[in-house]
C-alpha cells in the first residue's frame, strides 16, 4: 500500500552523516566521488545526451552528497514497463528514481511501488508545473510523481496547399476532398495502427466531443454518445479519400515520413516532426505550418491527449530523501530547457514556454502551451494497459469501425479490463 515519504526539509542537517552511512550500506557506490551516494535513475533511452548531462550536472550540484547513474531502459514503452514492473515486484532496492510514462503512475501507485510526495516537497514538485501534467502524476487525489517532460499533438499542414488551416475534422475532410479533386497532395496523416497511438487518437476525440472513456472514479466505462461521435469521426476519415492507404499500419514515424515525402497535406503529430522536416526537406519546410488540433464540433475546441514522462521515487529505495532531492534537480528549469532544446521534448514548466531560448527553436511554443493547458488525460486506472489494448483492438482497422456497435462492444471489454478479468489479446 502507498508509502508516505517523510521528506526532510531541504538541506537537511543530517545530510552529511546520512550520506556517509548510506555509502557504507551500499558499498558498491561505483563512479561516486568520495562518500557520495550513487542513485540509480531508470529512464527511457535518450540519444541526444540531454539526460546524461542532467544526471551529471545534478551530481555536481549536490556538493558530493549523491551522484546519479542514468540507466537506460529498453526502447519500446512495453519493454520499459516490463523491466520496471519486474524490478519493483521483486522489491529492488537499487531503483531510486523511475521515469514513468504518463499512463503508469496510477498502476505503480496502486501497487505501492512509488512513494507519495507530501508537504513541502509536493509544493516544490508542483510549482510552476502544467496542470494537466500534474494530473497525470496524481492518483486518488495524491501526488505520486513529478512531471518531467510533457508532449502533445498539433495539426501540421502545408500552407501552399491549404491557405487557412481547418478548425474542425469536417472542414479538414472537405479540404482534403477539394485537394484530391484538384489532383494535389491531400492525405491526412494520423496514427491508425493497432497500438497505443490509436487509443490516444480515440481519447482525444472522445474528450473533444465532451465525453470521457472512464467515469470520474475510474470504476466503469463512460463512453456514451461522445464515444459514438468519436468513433464516427475515425471511420469517416478512414473511409474518405483523405485516408492514407497504409493508415491501419501507421505510427508517428510513418506519418512523419509520409508528410516529408510530399504526399500529404495534413499531419496530426508531436512537435518532433518540425526539426525533422527542417533537416530532411528544406524545400517543403517553408510551407510547413502548424495550427491547433481540429475540433470535433465547431463550438468546442479540441482537448488533445497529453503525453510525457513523470519521475517517481521507488518505494524500496535506500535513500528516498536524497532520491527526491535528485528528482527535483533532474527536472529543474535548466535541465528541462536542455532536454527541450537537445532532446526535443516540450517542458512541463509553464514559465519556460515564454523564454526566448525556447521560442527561438520552438516557434510553436505558444500553441503547444495552449494545447497543454486544455489537454485531456488518458484513462487513469491501474488497468490502463488492458483498457488501451481493448480500445486499440476494437477500433482496428479504422475503416472497419461501426460506431454504435463497436462502442457497445468496447463497454463490455473495458468493464472486463478494469476488473482484470479474462485474457488480453
Amino acid at each position: 500500500m502507498p508509502r508516505v515519504l517523510r521528506f526532510r526539509s531541504r538541506w537537511a542537517s543530517a545530510a552529511a552523516g546520512l550520506s556517509v552511512l548510506a555509502s557504507a550500506l551500499v558499498g558498491c557506490g561505483g563512479g561516486g566521488s568520495g562518500g557520495a551516494v550513487a542513485l540509480n535513475w531508470y529512464n527511457f533511452p535518450d540519444d541526444s545526451g540531454a539526460l546524461q548531462q542532467a544526471a551529471d550536472r545534478c551530481g555536481q550540484l549536490s556538493d558530493g552528497r549523491y551522484t546519479i547513474r542514468y540507466n537506460k531502459l529498453p526502447r519500446g514503452a512495453d519493454g520499459q514497463r516490463q523491466q520496471l514492473v519486474r524490478r519493483m515486484a521483486a522489491h529492488d532496492a537499487d531503483v531510486d528514481i523511475l521515469g514513468l510514462d504518463v499512463t503508469w503512475p496510477a498502476e505503480f501507485a496502486e501497487a505501492g511501488w512509488i512513494r507519495e510526495w507530501t508537504g513541502a516537497m509536493r509544493e516544490r514538485a508542483t510549482a510552476d508545473t502544467l496542470d494537466a501534467a500534474v494530473r497525470t502524476a496524481t492518483w486518488r487525489g495524491r501526488l505520486y510523481a513529478v512531471p518531467y517532460n510533457s508532449n502533445t499533438q498539433l495539426l501540421w499542414y502545408r500552407d501552399d496547399l491549404v491557405p487557412t488551416p481547418p478548425a474542425t475534422w469536417a472542414e479538414m475532410l472537405a479540404e482534403a476532398q477539394r485537394l484530391a479533386a484538384e489532383g494535389k497532395p491531400h492525405l491526412v496523416e494520423i496514427q491508425g495502427a493497432q497500438y497505443e497511438g490509436l487509443t490516444v487518437w480515440f481519447n482525444t476525440l472522445v474528450t473533444s466531443a465532451g465525453g470521457s472513456i472512464l467515469t470520474p472514479d475510474a470504476q466503469a466505462p463512460s463512453l456514451g454518445a461522445p464515444a459514438v461521435t468519436a468513433a464516427g469521426v475515425m471511420r469517416d476519415l478512414a473511409a474518405s479519400v483523405a485516408a492514407d492507404p497504409s493508415l491501419p499500419n501507421q505510427m508517428e514515424d510513418q506519418n512523419r515520413l509520409a508528410m516529408e515525402s510530399g504526399t500529404a497535406a495534413f499531419e496530426l503529430n508531436y512537435p518532433f516532426v518540425y526539426p525533422s522536416m527542417k533537416a530532411n526537406q528544406p524545400a517543403l519546410f517553408p510551407h510547413f505550418r502548424w495550427a491547433p488540433y481540429p475540433a470535433v464540433s465547431a463550438d468546442r475546441p479540441a482537448t488533445v491527449t497529453i503525453g510525457g514522462i513523470d519521475l517517481a521515487v521507488g518505494a524500496y529505495s535506500r535513500h528516498p530523501d536524497l532520491a527526491a532531492e535528485a528528482t527535483l534537480c533532474l527536472r529543474d528549469r535548466d535541465n528541462q530547457l536542455t532536454n527541450a532544446l537537445k532532446g526535443g521534448l516540450p517542458p512541463s514548466l509553464r514559465s519556460l514556454y515564454g523564454t526566448p531560448e525556447l521560442t527561438a527553436s520552438y516557434p510553436f511554443a505558444a500553441d503547444v502551451l495552449a494545447a497543454l493547458d486544455s489537454a485531456s488525460v488518458r484513462p487513469q486506472t491501474p488497468a490502463y494497459q488492458n483498457v488501451s489494448i481493448a480500445i486499440a483492438h476494437t477500433l482496428s482497422p479504422p475503416a472497419g469501425i461501426r460506431p454504435e456497435r463497436d462502442v457497445a462492444d468496447l463497454r463490455g471489454q473495458i468493464q472486463d479490463a478494469l476488473g482484470s478479468k479474462g485474457l488480453i489479446p
Partner: protein, 308 residues
Amino acid sequence: MTPSTKPAPVPVPVGPSRGARQERRLGLLLCAPAVIVMLAVTAYPIGYALYLSLQRYDLRFPDQAHWVGLANYGAVLTSPFWWQALGVTVLVTAVSVAIELVLGLALALVMHRAVFGRGTVRTAVLVPYGIVTVVAAYSWQYAWTPGTGYLAALLPEGSAPLTEQWPAVGLIILAEVWKTTPFMALLLLAGLALVPEETVRAAMVDGASFGQRLRLVILPLMKPAILVALLFRTLDAFRIFDNIYVLTGGSNGTGSVSILGYDNLFTALNLGIGSAISVLIFVCVALIALVFVKLFGAATPGAEPERR
C-alpha cells in the same frame, strides 16, 4: 571395476550382498545431485505454475491473491483469443514442419551423396542453423519492412506484408523453415546412414527406379529417424515464440499460444491466467509427444533402438 564385482564367497547370502547394496547406495548418491538439480529447475517451476494457475493472482497486488479453482482454465478455454492463437500455432507448426521434412530430406540426400566438397556442402547447409534466431528474425523483419528492406522493395508500392495477417503468417513460416530445415536435414542424414548400401544396390539391380528405391527401401528403413526428427521439430514449432515476437510482436492475429501466454504474464501481469495458458501449452506438447510415441511408435530418446 569395484571390489564388489569379485566372485562371491561359497555360502550364498540371502538377498543382495553387502557389496551390491553398497554399490546401489553409491549409485543413488551419484545420481542425487542430478536429481536434485532436475527437481529444482524442472519439477519446481512446473509445480509452481500449476499452483499459480489455480489462483487469481495479479503481480501488482500479491496481497489480494486467492484461490479460484479452475476458473482461469475456464476463462482461457472460453476466450476467442486462445482459440485464435491455437489456430495460428497449429497452422504454423503443420505447414512449417511439412515443408521442412521435404526440404530437409532433399538436403540430406544431397549431403549424403555429395562426392566432392562434402564438408563445404554440409557447412553451407548448416549456416542458417548457426545464426541466432533473434538475429535472423531481425534480418527478416528489416528485409520485409518498407523503407528499410530489400525484399519489401520488390513488392508493389505501399505493401507492408508484416502488418497483414496472412502475409505475416506466411513470412513467419518462411523464417521458421529457413532457420530449422538444416536441423531436420542433419537428423535425416543420421537416418540415411542407417540404410545399408547393399540393400539399395540390390534394389537397383532389381531394376527399381530412384522413386521406388526412395519410397520402398530408403524411407521405410529411415522411419525411426524420420519420426524422431518430426517429433523434435513439432514440439519445437508448437512452442514458437522468438520469430513471431521479433517479426510481428503477435499483432494483427499472428500471435502463437506462447505469445499469448507471454502477453498475459508480462503485459497484463496476470500470473493466474498466464500460468493457466502455460500449463495448457505444456498439456498440448505432452499430447503431441504421446501421439508420436504411442500412435506412430517413435522411439523416445534414451529408449532401446527399434530392432528390425
